[in-house]
Amino acid sequence: MGASPAQAQEPIPAEAEPPTELSEESATLIAARAAAQAAEERGDPTAALASWQLVRAALPADVAAAFGVGRAHAARGERAAALRALRTIPHDAEQAPAAWALAAQLELDDDPRAAAVLFSQVLEQAPADPDAHLGRARAQLRARARPAPDALIADVNAFLCCATEAALAAATPHFVEMSDQLREQGLDDTAAELLRLAVERGVGGEQAELQGRLDRLLVERAARTLTLAAARPLSPTGRAALERARAAAAAGELRAAREQLDAVVAAEPRSAEVRGADGDLLLLQGDVAGAEQAWRWAVALAPEQPEWRARLGVLLAERYAGRRHPEAVEQLRLATRLRPGQAALHMRLAEVLLEMGSFDEAEAELEAALATSPEATVAAAATRRLDDLRRRPPPPSEPPPAAPEEAGAPAAAARSAQITRVYLDRGELERARAELLVVQKLAPDWVGVHELEAAIALRAGDLPAAERSFRAGLRADPAQPQLALALADLLLLRGATAEAEGWLRAAASAGAVDARWQLARLASDRGDLFEAKRELDAYFALAPQGLSLEPAQSLRRQLDRRLARLAAASSGGLLLVAVGAGGWWRARRRRADLRRMVARAPELAPELARTLTAIRHEVLKHNTNLLSDVAHALEHGDGHAAAFAAQRLFGAPGGDGGVVSRFRGDIHHIDVLARRIGLRFHPPSDPVLGPLIDRINALAALEGPMRHPRDRPALAARLRALSTALNTDSYRALGHLIRRLGTLTLTEALIRAVDGRVRAEPQLAGLDLPPLALDLPVDPPQVRVLKGDLEDVLANLLRNAALAVGAARAQGRAPGRLGLRVEEEDDVITGVESVLIRVLDDAPERLTASMVHGREAGRGLGLVVDLIHRHDGSLTVEERPDERAEGYTKAVVVRLQRAEADEVRPGGGEGR
């Protein structure tokens, strides 16, 4: 039908009216869509399916209809039909990711590989979709595709980070399933990490289930490790070889001792005593890390033996400048509980606690030490420790005990025994007792039961029960020197000295070195000086070092003096001076800010700098830094970011595991440092930390609103303001403060002043010394070191050089030259700049690295090395100095970190 010209000239409407037939069809389809959606809303998938199918029949390419059919089939449990419908949806459709997500969920049971692919496709479009991350992790595990642990944990983290509270509450079964699958696939570590993350994030209303699974996994893993490394008793041949090695070490023949001990370790690697002795020798040889490793072996092999724990604890306390004090306390505390009668152990623990500022706990330990051993030797040592906390001698440790026995137990009983030990180690005494019942049932005649029983009783503080168990163990097998020693300790505690001495003799004759020291002490107490000296000599011959070494040396000096007096005089009583240890901790407490603290005790600067750096790094950089972005998200209606940040800042609801809690711990630590020097940290008067604490408190007041954001604009404004204050003002102020702590300018005047003081010392009087030749940079460098420490270091090195040069010059062996050169260098890899101080001389005596660092180091050099290490520096020896050092024969080189000028540049820079 043609159009008339008039009609053709009429303007065509933008949207022509549809023909009547189409309108009716469209109305039908609109009604069908509405019916389908209504059916879905009321939970009637059958009706929804019928309606969506009607739409789809009319419009086969309609994505919404295909998705609706898929959803309805899925809701009716018709997986195959649902997947057929969903697969018709084109990849570029707007709803494709949602459809893939549904398909992936449907595939999860029957075809997890396909599900994993689909979840990955969802994540390409929606990278932050938490359900897809969790789904992919589950699918990969079900498919046994052995996903990379990192990738799996990343998916889990992405879920935990962003999932809704409802999703988290419902996720427990998924985590249970995933952890089981990981364990089936031998990925226990990943399973533990997964459970730990879930527990920390508070997954599930029944957290106890995941926590329980995590605990069980850890206990089983620890027990398996112990079972793999179960201790074996030392054979007679091994014991003889071990004693030869010890004797060689005591005689200073370290190489021979090493050769003999290596052979014993190779032959009997599961002997705790051998491992322990290996640690002793490694420490003698200067291998700290090796000694730690050896003692960890010994602890793993014989966890109920306190000796190795004590050595480990002392090592951790002494060699890591306070960084591993908590670990040291854990080991030493366990050791004191297992051996409550060891005064030296209590004293060691007290020292570490003092350094940590735990004065009350230290006091308790000192009282225990004095109560255990009130005689002059220990009391004097205790007093000296207390008075000289910051100038302690090198670390001793405890002498080795006898080997534990665990042979003769059936495999199942041995496994239960290891589980008992794990629970004991964790302080879960009830569980340990329950597990011990299993051991007793499986192996009623096994002697090791008694020792475990005693260990549990000691941990519970039930000394009579422990004594009974030790006695039972010794009745079952008298050849257990460590049990005899432990029983003797308990008897001494309750004053049964005569019986204790009998057990000590038994232990000593069976190879327990520590028993010799105890016998010497008892003999000295009853006035039998010759017997005491004999036992002490035996102790020193067998224990080149040990936890009791220092009191033993003190006792020997005391005995020598008493014997000399006996020989020289016929009259005159012996004077024992008991010095009380009380009163020292009642320091005067006064308010102070950081500036005043450092002014009073400059040696606190490194520890303060470490603590402030931790606050700056852990609290501000990694956490409060998110606040502005959280504010941004809130302003755009997203409350999840606030909840996410709240979790990091405040920990789980009702708990105290968050960053704010850690910050308060750091502030408490500063107060502890202040109390150590008789002050009390007073935040309001501190210009940097005062405002920071106020801001953190203001942030803490927002915990509730952040967890459940309501008035989002107001919360966003508060967070934005706090973000600026914390992340700009406080952050920069802290950085400035940290950089200012503990730096000095190395000037000629400073060096000349030290040199002048050294030359004025009486020991250098009369020596014809050359002048000190200085070679310094034009601009004096800034060094990260405390002034007093650097002066001590320089004085020591200049004194040594002067003595050597003075003697050589007097004897005509060298012209006599003394020099000091300062240079700067930067590490080619890290870019860190150092200041090198070379102390040069021309004395012909050789100086080697081992003479500086080894056990042969003089006490002065030992202190120098400690001081330098405290400032992250190093000390080396150049036996042939470079060509610029013409005429010099050697140089001792101190490397210290160069402090940078305090220039703060915002932003970054481009390398050229």
Binding site: D150, A154, D287, R319, L626, G735, R905, P906, R912
Partner: protein, 155 residues
């Protein structure tokens, strides 16, 4: 840089940056993670990247780049201290290693060089193109820095 999303290799021993940045920056950037130096070098050799985001401290990585024996000798046989030094400066070790391997991809380091400008200059001179982000940088600033670096723009 190809397409609309820059490919970023995040080298960190934990998952903090990938998790946080993944949440805030995922639409603009394709973030992939390497947990230690060797795996980073492997990924850099196998794939093409627009920019590297590198953390400095690696105290959770099981594998560290660097000569532990040499450092132990410097610290009087103290292996623990040597390892801590490697951990504290591992980012610099990784940076040196990837440049030595011929990788010229721009690097953005997450480290507070504000207090150590000379150290940064030393590193940038040897191992550029290099820029850093102050510790106060939030996700938006990180995104801008990564995109600028990927485009080769000066800091």
């Amino acid at each position: 840089m190809t397409g609309t999303r820059a490919r970023v290799l995040v080298i960190e021993d934990g998952h903090e940056y990938t998790t946080t940045l993944g949440r805030f920056l995922a639409p603009a950037l394709d973030l992939q993670r390497a947990g230690d130096g060797p795996s980073a070098l492997e990924r850099l050799a196998q794939e093409r990247w627009d920019v590297i985001f590198l953390d400095m401290r690696f105290d959770r990585a099981s594998v560290l780049l660097g000569d532990l024996d040499e450092l132990s000798a410097r610290f009087a046989g103290d292996v623990g201290r040597a390892r801590r030094t490697l951990e504290d400066n591992q980012g610099a070790y990784i940076l040196a290693a990837l440049r030595e391997a011929g990788c010229t991809v721009p690097v953005v380091m997450s480290y507070d060089f504000d207090g150590e400008p000379r150290r940064f200059q030393n590193l940038a001179r040897r191992y550029g193109p290099l820029r850093y982000l102050t510790d106060t940088a939030g996700p938006a600033e990180i995104r801008a820095a990564l995109l600028d670096a990927a485009r080769g723009e000066p800091a």
